[in-house]
């Protein structure tokens, strides 16, 4: 399979075979991600890390990935110190980064920004989130995490909980899980339901997601509980927000009815949707999930820039 020079813009650009290939390679990366093994396969290579919007995990793990493989990183984590402030277009910034580096990681507030960046760049572009749009590396690390923990994704019962309407990363995840034949249950307040077009995509892939507002019942036989953040801005008043957030809180009481091997995932940052008491249980997998961003991003950088461990 040839990934050299390929852009990573949307999970939908990849076949299941290609995704499997990436995830298998990411597995090989684990000892290198942990620092137990070293190999400078990206020595002499430079990554542009262009974050027009704040990020902790995605940026740090991309930059760490490049460093772990012996490469170097240039870029910014806050556009206020750049010509962007003087009104420079994204396309011009990308042209520059293209001539200064071997790959570009970009996060930008506009949907489609990474697709546009790829048009103006010869070196591969990796989408680190475009507005409310796509976030393919998050999707890949989510798939990777489920596969690592559950051995396979097919037929696993996966509950997606929270803001399923505006959280677009959960849209690509639903699509990808359907591609793998997972059984999906969607739990959200009625005002934040999964859009019909996403449910339609799942159905096209042969998966009929079950929608419910009853979390307790939904998690009883679940293998994975994927929690997303419910944003305050989405609600007309604080009272309504508090009511909804209260009814979807994941805590030890709720987990009493869960299966022994249920894993709980969250793209982080979390606010109040998962009680910190859950962190100490063996269900909590969100920190390991965040670590998994490293082997997955190392695998991607290695594949698109070239050079194999």
């Amino acid at each position: 399979m040839k990934f050299n020079g390929k852009d990573i813009i949307s999970i939908k650009d990849f076949t299941k075979n290609e995704i499997n290939y990436i995830l298998d390679y990411a597995e090989d990366m684990i000892p290198y991600a942990k620092g137990d093994k070293f190999k400078n396969i990206l020595k002499g290579k430079v990554l542009s890390s262009l974050f027009f919007e704040p990020s902790t995990r995605t940026r740090l793990s991309f930059e760490s990935s490049m460093n772990r493989l012996g490469g170097r990183v240039i870029g910014f984590s806050d556009p206020s110190g750049t010509s962007q402030k003087k009104g420079e277009s994204l396309s011009d910034t990308i042209r520059m980064a293209d001539s200064y580096s071997d790959a570009i990681v970009v996060r930008h507030p506009h949907e489609g920004a990474a697709r546009l960046a790829a048009e103006f760049s010869d070196v591969p572009v990796l989408n680190a989130g475009d507005g409310a749009g796509r976030h393919p590396t998050q999707c890949l690390l989510d798939l990777f995490t489920i596969r690592e923990e559950k051995k396979k994704i097919k037929n696993k019962k996966i509950v997606l909980l929270g803001d399923l309407k505006y959280g677009r990363t959960v849209h690509s995840l639903a699509y990808a899980l359907a591609l793998y034949g997972a059984k999906l249950t969607l739990v959200s307040p009625t005002s934040l339901k999964m859009p019909n077009e996403v449910v339609g995509e799942c159905k096209d892939l042969g998966i009929e997601p079950i929608s419910t507002s009853n979390l307790e019942k939904a998690i009883r036989d679940a293998d994975v509980l994927y929690v997303t953040r419910i944003q305050k801005e989405r609600f007309p008043d604080a009272e309504e927000y508090n009511r909804v957030v209260g009814s979807y809180k994941v805590n030890n009481e709720l987990l009493k009815s869960a299966k022994e091997d249920l894993i709980i995932m969250h793209p982080l940052p979390r606010v109040t949707e998962i009680d910190p008491e859950v962190d100490k249980t063996h269900h909590a997998l969100y920190f390991k999930q965040a670590f998994n961003g490293l082997p997955v991003r190392m695998a991607l950088l290695s594949l698109v820039i070239g050079g194999r461990i």
């Binding site: 949307s10 277009s89 396309s91 949907e111 489609g112 697709r115 546009l116 048009e119 409310a132 749009g133």
Partner: protein, 151 residues
């Protein structure tokens, strides 16, 4: 047939027939007519036909290239292009949406990068032809009010 004809016959030119009722002016806009032509143009709006109401546009002394016109299928998917020579229909072409629509419709998503200050034209993939359904190449939104989004 004569009863239907509300506007005079033309000797040579192009008749765009079966335009979705009410959209004739937008069709002219997409084609850049009349800005780009000095031809006489007649427009009939809400003409009765066997399939309900329709609009018709007649352009004298200009043969419009059917390929150039296919993009009007966005707002007039049933339109036909009739090339008139010496009062007769010499060629008839049913418009068909191309697979990609570039620079004609603006994306309905205000935060789409194609609406930002970047040197690119709007770009849509056509996912259904009739009725037209299009998806933004950049942000993947599917605008519903296509007719109102013509640039």
């Amino acid at each position: 047939m004569k009863k239907e004809l509300k506007i005079p016959l033309i000797k040579n030119g192009t008749v765009i027939d079966h335009i979705t009722a009410g959209n004739a002016v937008k069709v002219l806009h997409i084609l850049g007519i009349p800005i780009s032509t000095s031809s006489v143009i007649s427009v009939a709006i809400n003409v009765k036909s066997k399939f309900g109401k329709k609009d018709i546009v007649k352009v004298e002394n200009r043969e419009i290239d059917p390929q150039e016109v296919d993009k009007i299928a966005l707002i007039a998917p049933k339109a036909t292009i009739n090339i008139i020579r010496n009062y007769n229909v010499a060629k008839k072409h049913k418009v068909e949406l191309p697979n990609e629509i570039i620079g004609i419709v603006c994306c309905s998503n205000p935060t789409c990068v194609s609406n930002a200050n970047e040197p690119v034209k709007s770009r849509f993939n056509v996912i259904e032809k009739d009725p037209p359904k299009i998806k933004c190449y950049y942000c993947e939104r599917e605008p519903e009010d296509i007719a109102d989004r013509i640039i």
